[in-house]
């Protein structure tokens, strides 16, 4: 186990979500769910983050924003898409301004379906992501991808 799994810092971005999933992500940080138990901190800065939590779907305008955040995250990192919107575009999938789930833009490692996704579900999702994070770290060490 690498220490990455003991101290995953997250960054959350609201692609075009309806707020429902956002506030549930935030709720995870608050006393009832308290993800700091797992060492999780909401850093708000891509350069410090290990996990990118995206809510909502991709649209033309935020495409670049999501990419910018993703590209500024040091490796290894994982992406968690929270909510149906992030999975597929959800109810808004057919809107003219929505191009679909986050997976169409950046590689998503864990999807958390639900509308709105429940905090417990989000915690599950992040825990799953930790496994992937660990794996990515080990792979990269073998491959020597980064320093």
């Amino acid at each position: 186990m690498s220490y990455l799994t003991k101290s995953p810092w997250i960054i959350h971005y609201d692609a075009s979500s309806c707020n429902g999933c956002d506030i549930e992500v935030l709720a995870c940080l608050t006393p009832l769910y308290d993800v700091e138990r797992f060492g999780i901190i909401n850093t708000g800065n891509p350069k410090h983050a290990d996990i990118f939590v995206v809510t909502g779907s991709v649209n033309e305008q935020n495409k670049e924003v999501i990419k910018n955040i993703y590209n500024q995250m040091p490796k290894p990192n994982v992406v968690v898409g929270v909510g149906i919107c992030a999975c597929s575009g959800g109810v808004f999938r057919e809107c003219y301004n929505v191009s679909g789930g986050v997976g169409e833009l950046i590689p998503v490692d864990v999807y958390v379906p639900g509308c709105a996704a429940r905090p417990e579900q989000i915690i599950d999702g992040i825990v799953k992501a930790l496994g992937i994070l660990d794996k990515k770290y080990k792979d990269s060490k073998k491959g020597g991808d980064f320093k």
């Binding site: 075009s16 309806c18 709720a27 891509p46 779907s57 808004f92 809107c95």
Partner: protein
Amino acid sequence: MSRRIVVPFGPQHPVLPEPIHLDLVLEDEHVIEAIPSIGYVHRGLEKLVEKRDFKDFVYIAERICGICSFIHSVGYCQGIENIMDIEVPKRAQYLRTIWSEYSRLHSHLLWLGLFADSMGFENLFMNSWRIREKILDAMEETTGGRVIQGSCKVGGVRRDISDSKLKDMVKDLDILSSDIEDLCHVFFDDDTVIHRTKGVGVISKEAAYSLGAVGPTARGSGVSTDIRKTGYVAYADLDFSPVVETGGDCYARCAVRARELLQSVDIIKQAVDAVPSGDIDVKVKGNPDGEYFSRVEQPRGECLHYIKANGKKNILRERVRTPTTANIPALVKMLGGCEMADVPVIVLSIDPCIGCAER
């Protein structure tokens, strides 16, 4: 050489739950210019009416926003019901009122937390949200959803609340109100909070009115406007008056919301006392034909659903004018000449909800 600092504030910024951006031009930390811009979460859902049956559109209406989700569905349904002349059963109207006020409680607590966070008061944030979870529990138990309630439909509501549950809810609220009072005390009295809110982002009564500010933003400046006073759903039967503060600053806007928490508790109690028995919905036949401006009071202020239909299954136009949209001009005015540290506080003080502002 100028001494300007230009900071791209947002769209991704930890204090902004939703993306907006501001181009901050600072001198030291004094804001010289701050032009906000939105547009990151526009989905274009109003256009979905062309695709969806007017009855099914309510599911989309409630996903305009995950915070006052319920009130959006009320606004939409109410519009259709008015066009079609549907008489919604009284019990349904009362339940709508109760859920609306629960939404307000949840939304205001959420906001108080975010607001506290915006000035770096983490504990206050945590404690606000701790209390809010109790509200969400009640919501989930009665509607099946924590944030997207999905219990309003054209012609009434989809779930009933048993009378005993209603009583329990009131009991829980009583316990909660003492916690809420403790919390409000901090917002009202704490020196460091006052340091961050008093005199920050002042907007005068006249300015607030002429800029078309709504909700707590307007009421914080002394404009007594509260769409609940038009008496939609069951508000006509209940006794309350708009909460008004006169400071016009962030402190006043915060105070309005804090006091509204207690007001909502009171309204819920009145409604529970008065809720009649009977059906919770009526059957809806036919299609709407006509137009209507449906106005409801969301936690953030007046929200307007304009519906125009021509007797088809799909309505012609649904327009949502959300409170945040109406408050943006006031926000632009507030930001002029503040300090950089005030920017998050001021932005949050209108309780911006970009999701619904852009739809």
